[in-house]
Amino acid sequence: MFQSPDFNQLREQIKSATSADVEQALNATRLNLNDLAALISPAAEPYLQQMAARSSEITLARFGKTTQLYAPIYLSNYCTNRCVYCGFSADNRIKRKCLTLDEAEKEAMILHERGFQHILLVSGEAENAVDVEYMEAIALRLRNKFAAVSIEIQPLSTEHYQRLFLAGITAVAVYQETYDRDMYKRVHLSGKKSDFDYRLETPARVAEAGMREVGIGALLGLSDWRAEGLAIGHHLNWLRKTFWSTAFTVSFPRMRPATGEFEPLEIVTESNLSQLIFALRLFDQDVGLIVSTREEARYRDGMLKLGPTRYSAGSCTAPGGYGDSDSEAEQFSVGDHRSLQEVSTMIREKGYDPVYKDWDSSFQITTS
């Protein structure tokens, strides 16, 4: 199993990087973890331009003039965990809702009509609200209507992921939130999620189950973002070596305001976020990099072409929010409120092709 390196050691390693290390990393054709450490270090900050140029060049060569688009559907905001930073936390008094299968399908079809072919089903982590049977039933309803259906729900067992794969789920995202073990303990007050190691081992269980794609990431704002970035690099490296036929993506959720008024513990600026994205692109030329609507439109427009390969669009983070715009209780507030069409227009204006379909449900052998 993957052993997460000591977070403080990662910090130290990054701190000791010099501009010579950065230059070496910028000139290397294949980067190792030391190069990644150099590129996310403070020593690399003066090189942000060069990093952006290199990142953009690699992304263009590997992914072409395209950006994939997807939208999330929030199925449920019930949660049995108490994560201090999240609007869905069991501690918060919010209106709870779990969509019925019909309601979920209705939400999905609204997105379908808007043109989405790739959707991500998201829920809080409450097994009594959203369990494997529920997810299986939704997958069976949606798999022939969409090119790809991904999920971001509580960690499951390998067997359960296998069941969902056979039902038509293609990809699973599960973020570690923080690779800083001590901080993890401090912000996950109770509930199943407080088991750091079980969560850390989840991407491996997903890959083992045969899923096509696994998304990993850290919630930026909980601990030192540089060390988080290097930890992601370690995790990605291990996953690549162990599951060579699985595709991987990395997301960079920056902490957003949510119910509960939690203030980020660390400030991660847009410049920091960009440095992290460029560094990971140089480190792994083929990893999918996702920037969600948590970020402002201005930032997302600027980053297009420079490293990210996938954007969400037209997102609503409250269950039932597409059909009912009065629906409250978002998980976090959205920074880019533009519709799919508006985001597509921006992408086209920048000379890129907004890609709605880059998968086909017929790749998967599925149960009936």
């Binding site: 263009l60 060569a61 590997r62 992914f63 072409g64 003039k65 395209t66 090119a147 096509r212 690549r240 060579w244 036929s245 699985t246 595709a247 083929d286 086209r348 000379g351 890129y352 092709d353 890609v355 379909k357 880059d358 998968w359 086909d360 017929s362 790749f363 052998i365």
Partner: protein, 260 residues
């Protein structure tokens, strides 16, 4: 004229369609390249939707449509996808891609051979994408592949024909056309492959991400033609030793005067 499975092609440049900035640019580049064989990733199109952007752009001209199975991790997935493509498009042409490693997108030789055998039996015209392995090329050919498509270098790298020693052997041995696929990053690379005797080349990234994809497509068309003409004209052999350009043949023939 290049003939594959009984169909004649005037152009020896095949185009890949991923990575273009828009379907309109793609269509323009295809027109400028004058190519007649266009490959399309099945994962990218809605075959049964006539409004599909890419399909609409392609249907405006008369191409041989070569759907590819990009994304398939094994023979089973590729075979299932091939049948779906045929049912939807009515065409039996198929570029077989079985690439289990999403990072390098290198072809799986074992699964590619299995899929070729099955698909040929099912009546498909199979053009397998393969590593530049001469024995595999022979096996695929024996299994009924209509052409073989060895890679010049890893896909999307623009490194050119790094596998030339192997491709030369494949060309020498093949009964079916040899199409160099993947890695061709510049018109000079394409010309080189054609000079070696390749029957055609397939280009995508080099054209789609060029500053001016339409002009680049035209440049590739010329390079492919130049390479082909040079091949037919008979290229001089490359030699490590210097040789005089006008050897003293008189002396030589008199030296050899003793021969009957």
């Amino acid at each position: 004229m290049l003939t594959i499975a009984g169909t004649d092609f005037r152009s020896r440049l095949f185009l890949g369609t991923g990575k273009f900035s828009s379907s309109a640019v793609m269509a323009e580049a295809i027109a400028a390249s004058d190519c007649q064989m266009v490959t399309v990733a099945l994962r990218r199109v809605n075959l049964d939707n006539p409004e599909d952007d890419i399909m609409k752009a392609l249907s405006q001209r008369d191409y041989t449509f070569l759907p590819n199975t990009s994304g398939a991790r094994n023979a089973n997935e590729a075979i299932r996808l091939a049948h779906l493509a045929r049912a939807a498009s009515g065409s039996s042409w198929l570029k077989l891609e079985v690439t289990p490693d999403p990072r390098t997108l290198l072809p799986d030789p074992v699964e590619t051979l299995i899929a070729t055998e099955e698909l040929v039996k099912a009546g498909f015209i199979v053009l397998p994408y393969m590593n530049a392995d001469p024995i595999l090329a022979l096996k695929l050919q024996d299994a009924g592949a209509a052409a073989v498509m060895p890679l010049g270098s890893p896909i999307g790298t623009n490194q050119g024909v790094l596998t030339d020693a192997m491709i030369e052997i494949i060309i020498e041995q093949a009964r079916v056309p040899v199409v160099v696929d993947a890695g061709i990053g510049a018109p000079s690379h394409a010309a080189y492959a054609m000079e070696m005797g390749a029957d055609a080349v397939l280009v995508n990234t080099a054209i789609s991400i060029a500053g001016d994809p339409v002009a680049m497509a035209a440049a590739f068309a010329k390079a492919v033609e130049a390479g082909r003409t040079a091949y037919i004209a008979g290229m001089g052999r490359r030699s490590k030793q210097a040789s005089a350009s006008s050897p003293v043949t008189g002396t030589l023939s008199s030296d050899l005067g003793f021969l009957a």
